[in-house]
């Protein structure tokens, strides 16, 4: 019934919906999962690497993680070709801001610029929307480390932890329980009462550090990916932290480092097995 109002992005349906935008959002649900987690001392983004063919030449650079400027990076879920256009836009904007103000662009302004660009394709020109969702990770002196998510509609929001791409609902509900959840150990049990009181007063979860966030991100990917065994060649782990000079450092974990995180999780989930 809504077919008549489907084709044009610039037309509302009688129910007040923009079908093209909704279809674009659907397209991303087929893309490789990306998890973003905000930590006390940085931001972590983990993504599922979809290996489509063994004949493919080994990638020289990531097709998931992109550096936008010294203090911001993004993860892509969706049509890579569409993403490339938007990433160029983001890089240009960051550069132009630095040219104008001789300062780093506040992360939210960078995100908003990309989103305004995306929004134009839902309102003008009769062109289809971009089939891309982003996770933006960045640092600025105003709000510290930040994580944002954006979708084809041009909407964006800030998150402590979020998932985009395939099985994102499963990922998100997993994070709802696990993010900031205190692990049961002796010290914690002694502070038990105090924690309960503060948990009631301050429903905000306690923020993990980058190492904990990396482990949590891998756990989320394990949940969302079909594969039974997780390995470094199936996932890409990125983290953004501040180095000793206060400069942002972008790091994609090497296969060994990623394997270490995976091993730590396997050790957790299989504590005392048959020995």
């Amino acid at each position: 019934m809504a077919r008549r109002y489907d084709s044009s992005t610039t037309t509302f349906s009688p129910e007040g919906r923009l079908h093209q935008v909704e279809y674009a959002i659907e397209a991303i649900n087929n893309a490789g999962t990306c998890v973003g987690i905000l930590a006390k001392d940085g931001v972590v983004m983990a993504s599922e690497k979809k290996v489509t063919s063994s004949l493919l030449a080994p990638a020289k650079s990531s097709e998931k993680t992109y550096k936008l400027c010294q203090h911001a990076a993004c993860n892509v879920a969706g049509l890579t070709a569409d993403a490339n256009i938007l990433i160029d836009q983001a890089r240009l904007r960051a550069g132009r801001y630095a040219y104008q103000y001789c300062e780093a662009i506040p992360v939210e302004q960078l995100v908003e610029h990309v989103c305004n660009y995306k929004q134009a394709y839902t309102q003008y020109g009769g062109l289809r929307p971009f089939g891309v969702a982003f996770l933006f990770a960045g640092y600025d002196t105003h709000y510290g480390f930040q994580l944002y998510q954006s979708d084809p509609s041009g909407n964006y929001s800030g998150w402590k932890a979020t998932v985009i791409g395939a099985n994102n609902q499963a990922g998100k509900s997993f994070l709802k329980n696990e993010y900031g959840a205190k692990k049961e150990d002796e010290d914690e049990k002694m502070k038990g009462e105090e924690e309960e009181k503060s948990a009631e007063e301050a429903p905000e979860a306690s923020m993990p550090d980058v190492q904990e966030a990396l482990r949590l991100a891998v756990k989320v990917l394990n949940k969302t990916m079909d594969a039974t065994a997780s390995s470094p060649d199936k996932m890409e782990l990125f983290c953004m932290t501040l180095d000793d000079d206060g400069e942002c450092s972008h790091k994609i974990l090497s296969a060994d480092e990623a394997q270490k995180v995976i091993d730590e999780i396997e050790a957790e989930t299989a504590p005392s097995g048959d020995s």
Binding site: C102, E103, P106, Q109
Partner: protein, 149 residues
């Protein structure tokens, strides 16, 4: 126009801007109460001198654009460093089209870094961060006083 900073041992926390109030041309004094210091934000201001048209036009252009920035970005403030570079960029762009014949002393306090700063800027879009400086005839007097400071 004269400007001076108070000196402290570690990061400067204060900037002082001072200027005259004369608006005159040739034999005529139009006004003796022209405010040549424009507020840019709650923590910064710009002293500006030159022909009245450019003085008013440029100072309003810059201050309104900076106000727009704060409105557009949820109250986020631009640091004095960023404001000065923005201002210089506008002078530079106009330079080879229709220059603003204004000389500026821009001073402000960076709330994020917790330190004050002062910038000297002239009509050719030169920009320098300074601890003290002056534009106009006052420089002939002040610079001599500042020798050896």
């Amino acid at each position: 126009q004269t400007t001076q900073t108070t000196q402290t041992t570690h990061p400067h926390t204060t900037v002082i801007l001072a200027s005259d109030q004369t608006n005159a041309r040739s034999i005529l004094t139009y006004q003796t109460n022209l405010d040549k210091i424009t507020e840019l934000s709650s923590h910064s201001a710009m002293g500006i001198s030159g022909p009245n048209a450019d003085l008013v036009n440029f100072s309003e252009y810059i201050s309104k654009n900076l106000a727009l920035y704060e409105l557009s970005n949820d109250g986020l403030k631009l640091s004095p460093h960023a404001q000065a570079n923005f201002c210089r960029g506008e002078l530079a762009t106009a330079l080879r089209k229709g220059p603003y014949q204004v000389n500026i002393m821009l001073g402000g306090y960076d709330t994020v870094k917790g330190e004050a700063s002062l910038y000297w800027m002239d009509y050719l879009a030169a920009l320098a961060k300074v601890n003290y400086g002056a534009q106009g005839y006052a420089s002939s007097f002040c610079c001599r006083l500042w020798i050896g400071i």
